[in-house]
């Protein structure tokens, strides 16, 4: 007697954004003898279509596979930020990749596979879907880091692969322990078991939750798990660094919020540990960035530091922190992407530029210098730009949840951040007579890079002046609670 096989409830609508990106990835995989430019355009179209299909799903709260895949508003919000970051990456890559002889369609295929995984993470309703998404994303990321044929790029990919695998292994162990303790893999099920105090034994659950925190810590570069970040971001080709440091982080934070804001919102035992990790991240990230001489490496440490600020939003109540997190992630994606896109243009090779070589950039390339200055000011959190409101919202959310000490610490470290962001920014506006940088010829800004930079700069200014445009959409606390509750 075999039981009847019952097909799961397949609903195509919530899967559509993922399937469109996957279809684009498959086309890019078999697109031989096609110019890479054409493939990149196809990829951008696929991403835009996916984004559009997410907009049509807005507010519908669609689910599939018994709640394993849920396209609720938070998922769509994270998904849209991922799409924005991926489109900017592709635009920047159009002009940049031919220059470094990385002009093959595999880049686009890998990028789209990674985005497929990221959307799975954002849409995940249970831990297995989350894990599969994370693995798809990470495997594609490892390959992208090695694509450039240099020793440093190989080293970067290898380090990323080894440490990423360790992170995944810890995460899987954590998932197994959590499943053992609660008997459920779905986020809603875990939430129910935890809030009803209905689990096998407490140490098992705590160990599981902390291991998941550590596993995600590897992916987002929280401090004791951040060692790979500077080497990988520095060694990878700059366009790939742009992708890894923005979009991958968005997806990993989506997963973190799903698990820790969604499945464990009542059992806040993990919070004390997370608080220590965030505090360490803020201190180490910001002080290490202070002593970097290479601009690309500085941006890598800045990515670590921003993980700390983003982590603050996780400590807050999901209802408030969620909206702040999405806003900050969007702002972070735009400003980091802008800064790295400018770096990709002005660097002599894929190792980035020394800070000192930025001297006098304004007199050679005024447009690029102004765009970079805007991005750096936004990263530092200066008022007319998006970074300011991102920090403000995140601080507010953490403060209101009672995390006063760490909010003060974050405010203090963001003063340190001001120093290392504004030093290169100020150098750009100093005359460069007599230095080696003065003789470097000006680079031509291609159309696509121009569009990418325009999107970033207009985005951070617009979000800085009118933050409500995005924030108000996500502000309703109910949708964040609903996201974590079961819609069985």
């Amino acid at each position: 007697m075999t039981p009847e096989l019952r097909p799961p409830d397949i609903a195509l609508a919530p899967m559509l954004p993922i399937l469109i990106v996957l279809a684009g990835a498959l086309v890019a995989t078999v697109a031989f003898r096609t110019q890479r430019r054409v493939v990149a355009v196809i990829a951008i179209v696929a991403l835009l279509l996916s984004g559009f299909s997410m907009l049509t799903l807005w507010g519908a709260n669609a689910t599939a596979f018994g709640g394993s895949l849920r396209a609720d508003n938070p998922a769509l919000g994270f998904g849209l930020v991922v799409i924005v970051g991926a489109v900017v990456t592709l635009l920047a890559s159009m002009d940049q990749l031919p220059r470094v002889r990385m002009n093959f369609p595999e880049f686009d295929a890998m990028l789209l596979y990674a985005v497929t995984g990221m959307l799975l993470i954002a849409f995940a309703g249970d831990l297995i879907v989350l894990l599969i998404g994370l693995e798809i994303m990470s495997l594609a990321g490892y390959v992208m880091a090695t694509l450039y044929g240099s020793r440093r790029s190989e080293e970067s990919g290898m380090k990323y692969f080894l440490l990423g695998s360790v992170g995944s292994a810890i995460l899987i162990y954590g998932i197994a322990l959590t499943f053992g303790a609660t008997g459920s893999l779905s986020l809603a099920g875990i939430r129910e078991a935890v809030s009803a105090q209905n689990f096998a034994n407490t140490p098992l659950l705590i160990a599981g939750a902390l291991m998941m925190l550590a596993g995600f810590g590897f992916k987002v570069a929280l401090v004791p798990f951040h060692q790979w970040t500077p080497d990988v971001y520095h060694g990878a080709p700059t366009v790939v660094t742009l992708f890894l440091s923005t979009v991958v982080k968005v997806a990993a934070f989506a997963g973190l919020l799903r698990v820790f804001g969604g499945a464990f919102p009542v059992e806040r035992a993990w919070e004390g540990v997370a608080e220590v990790l965030v505090a360490l991240t803020l201190i180490v990230g910001n002080t290490a960035a202070l002593v970097q001489r290479n601009f690309k490496r500085l941006l890598a440490y800045s990515a670590v530091a921003h993980t700390g600020f983003l982590g603050l939003a996780l400590l807050a109540e999901p209802a408030r922190g969620g909206a702040a997190l999405v806003f900050y992630l969007l702002a972070y994606t735009l400003m980091t992407a802008g800064a790295l896109a400018v770096l990709a243009l002005i660097q002599p090779d894929e190792g980035g530029v020394e800070n000192a070589d930025l001297r006098g950039l304004y007199y050679r390339q005024p447009g690029l210098a102004l765009a970079l200055a805007a991005c750096l000011a936004s990263l530092a959190g200066l008022p007319p730009f998006a970074g300011f409101f991102g920090k403000y919202l995140v601080f507010q959310a953490a403060f209101q949840a009672g995390h006063v000490g760490i909010t003060v610490l974050a405010a203090m470290t963001s003063v340190v951040a001001l120093v290392y962001y504004l030093r290169p920014a100020a150098l750009m506006f100093m005359p460069a007579e007599g230095s080696a940088a003065a003789v470097r010829p000006a680079v031509r800004v291609g159309t696509f890079t121009g569009v990418a930079l325009g999107v970033c700069v207009v985005g951070i200014v617009l979000l800085g002046v009118l933050p409500g445009l995005v924030y108000n959409v996500f502000d309703a606390p109910a949708q964040w609670v609903l996201a974590s509750l079961a819609a069985k």
């Binding site: 096989l5 097909p7 498959l26 078999v30 140490p203």
Partner: protein, 108 residues
């Protein structure tokens, strides 16, 4: 329970490490490689073709691993499983097309 279970594991390793007799010899210290003498160094160069063949292996390995159970249970599975299988094969096919176009079957 967890402590006892973990403790026994740690104990077994630690005790045998401390009390166990140690008579190292050159052969004993050699890296174990299925009884053969290990190849010198780990920095061997492999032809890139090796990896393409490995990809080919993975494509067909997964396919067979999946097809046997389906073939056995196909009568009971119905239309849904059929289309699932078609989707799966179509995805594998993309991988196959990719490596064939990359020249995995061209030996020279």
């Amino acid at each position: 329970m967890l402590l006892i279970a973990g403790g026994i594991g740690v104990l077994a390793v630690v005790v045998s490490m401390i009390l166990g007799p140690k008579k190292p010899s050159r052969t004993k210290l050699m890296a174990y490689e299925s009884g053969n003498d290990p190849l010198p160094g780990g920095k061997e160069r492999f032809p890139v073709h090796f990896y393409l063949v490995a990809m080919l292996f993975i494509v067909f390995d997964i396919e067979t691993a999946f097809f046997y159970p389906i073939a056995v249970a196909f009568g009971k599975l119905g239309v849904f499983a059929f289309w699932e299988t078609v989707t799966f094969v179509a995805l594998l096919l993309v991988g196959y097309v990719y490596i064939v176009r990359k020249g995995v079957l061209e030996w020279d």
